[in-house]
């Protein structure tokens, strides 16, 4: 477990987690790796580590990493490395690019993976290196770190994708 995370320097109310109007960030839909709430998640992925925040007060995973713990109202939290093993909670096979930036991705398999350490933590991800027809509920899966990039968007980011274990 790393040292306690400094409190993100943004307001902690719900509205501060939103932007208004059309999305203008040029790197969208890549993550903004500088956004304080998730910067450590992406920095860890870049080191090929899957890290999930743990509440310093009650010890439960805090996912997503909001400013206040749902279970104890505690605020400080620390990013903790997890095994990268889990089970396939649910998935879909997308044949239609809902964003123009997804055009080169179709077909793709967005999925939710329940972590081995705590199945209540579901990581949004994409299943890769598999035939969607072979996927089954609650099958064991494991993390793999891959570069993700999007049509018309400069750059790439290392992301935690999953494969059948």
């Amino acid at each position: 477990m790393t040292a306690s995370t400094p409190k993100p320097k943004v307001k902690t109310d719900e509205t501060s987690h939103r932007v208004e109007g059309h999305i203008t960030r040029s790197t969208f839909p890549l993550p903004d790796v500088t956004w304080p709430y998730t910067a450590e998640f992406w920095a860890a992925a870049d080191r090929h580590e899957l890290r999930i925040p743990v509440c310093d007060t009650c010890g439960r995973y805090r996912w997503y990493p909001k400013a206040t713990c749902l279970y104890c109202d505690g605020e400080p939290y620390s990013w903790s490395e997890v095994s990268g093993r889990g089970t396939l909670f649910s998935w879909v096979v997308v044949a239609h690019p809902f964003l123009p930036q997804f055009a080169d991705m179709v077909p793709y398999v967005p999925a939710l993976v329940a972590l081995e350490e705590d199945p209540a933590v579901r990581v949004p991800t994409r299943m890769v290196d598999c035939d969607p027809a072979d996927l089954t509920f609650d099958m064991p899966v494991t993390v793999t770190f891959r570069e993700i990039a999007f049509t018309g968007v400069d750059g790439s980011v290392t992301a935690p994708l999953f494969v059948p274990a």
Partner: protein
């Protein structure tokens, strides 16, 4: 707020307003695909029709409710549209989605303490026209959420058809729900739209064979499992039952209402009860206030962005056991003439128009009056289930 693991929501604590509010006028705009109309033009047309329906003038409206979403019809827009300038009480706790069910709660307070005598609730969108400018179309409201931008969208988990296809697949696994059962919802709504000249899909029939032959563009969803994207809006006018007795049309009485809330908001991936809606919390509260049970209901309209959301709301509102929704909706159960549970008899968002629930309440009122296009025989109790994800709401209306 500290909760136990597994707890996922709660009902808003509402005082009893049974019998305090009547809906005395309803109207909706023309419903269409991209039309070039503005939201204000759309809502203004719906309001004109609701006023005519209620036998009222614009100056009679002294209360106005709408939603906090962009471009909604506030007091300034009302005055500009109708050329009026009188005092109007206003509240943003109305509009479509969940607010279309709970606006009467806040109207009841305003009617009780004399702040208003006739309260208008409106909602409208021009999303078919605006779709090209929006990030992921109606997904834009989700793309604006920075947790989604940074933890969901980069992985492709976006937008709504993907969220709800993921939920549908898990529902199929947990409860044995089938594609044909989801299809029964789409087919029933389309049949109602075919009977309703105001529905966008009025001319387009949908058989189960055709549904099953349609490609799965977000497997397990076909496009027929997903709502339309439309230009349109609606309005209804609330007053006391005493005043409504003098209205030209028979009023509908607000018998019960409720609001349910999910702690995880629109972060569906993290909702502990993954295949449930907050109707679990709102429906018992609303039925208790009304002194009625789901078995008393003749018509159930609900916010239906996807077939699975209808299925979950039917379960969560108590029309059948949790998990039995698939078997319940199979066959003709939801058809207006089945004598079972008539559902979205105007066509719903799947086949009438995606106007976010406001037309569902308009339809319930028309059904209770006996003037709907696909009229349910002896319709005396009609329910609207609202949904946003973070919230679910229930409105029980009875024949006045």
């Amino acid at each position: 707020m500290a909760i136990e693991p597994g707890e996922w929501g709660y009902a808003t604590d509402f005082a009893d307003v049974n019998g305090q509010v009547a809906i005395c006028g309803v109207g909706d705009s023309d419903m269409s695909k991209a039309s070039g109309r503005t939201t204000t033009e759309i809502v203004g047309q719906a309001v004109e029709r609701a006023l005519a329906d209620a036998g009222l003038e614009p100056t009679d409206i002294d209360g106005l409710m709408y939603s906090p979403m962009p471009e909604q019809f506030g007091v300034a827009a009302f005055h500009e549209y109708f050329g009026t300038s009188h005092d109007i009480w206003e509240s943003k706790r109305g509009g479509g989605t969940v607010g279309a069910a709970t606006a009467p709660y806040h109207a009841a307070e305003a009617l009780r303490d004399g702040r208003a005598t006739y309260v208008l609730n409106t909602f409208g969108v021009a999303w078919a026209t605006q779709r090209g400018e929006m990030t992921g179309g109606p997904g834009e409201a989700h793309a604006q959420d920075l947790f989604k931008q940074n933890l969901e969208i980069p992985l492709g988990w976006f937008p709504q058809p993907v969220y709800f296809a993921t939920i549908a697949r898990r529902h199929m696994h947990d409860f044995g729900t089938t594609e044909e059962q989801l299809g029964a919802i789409a087919v029933a709504c389309r049949r109602h739209a075919n009977l309703n000249p105001e529905a966008v899909m009025h001319e387009k029939p949908l058989s189960m064979e055709r549904y099953l032959a349609s490609p799965k563009f977000v497997d397990p969803f076909r496009k027929e499992d997903c709502c339309l994207i439309s230009d349109g809006g609606g309005a209804y006018i609330m007053t006391t039952p005493e005043r409504a007795a003098d209205a030209p049309k028979r009023p509908a009485i607000v018998a019960g209402l409720g609001m349910g809330n999910a702690y995880t908001g629109t972060h569906w991936a993290q909702q502990p009860a993954f295949t449930s809606t907050p109707s679990v919390f709102s429906a018992p509260a609303a039925f208790s206030m009304a002194g009625l049970t789901p078995a008393d209901v003749d018509l159930f309209t609900c916010y239906d962005p996807f077939t699975i959301v209808t299925l979950m709301q039917i379960e969560d509102s108590g029309f059948c056991e949790k998990g039995a929704g698939g078997e319940f909706v199979a066959g003709d159960t939801l058809h207006y003439d089945s004598g079972k549970l008539a559902h979205n008899t105007h066509g719903g968002m799947l086949s009438h128009a995606y106007v976010l629930g406001i037309s569902h309440v308009v339809e319930v009122v028309r059904q209770l009056r006996g003037e709907a296009a696909a009229q349910v025989a002896d319709c005396e109790v009609g329910v609207y289930g609202g949904y946003t994800g973070p919230q679910g709401s229930t409105l029980v209306l009875t024949k006045g």
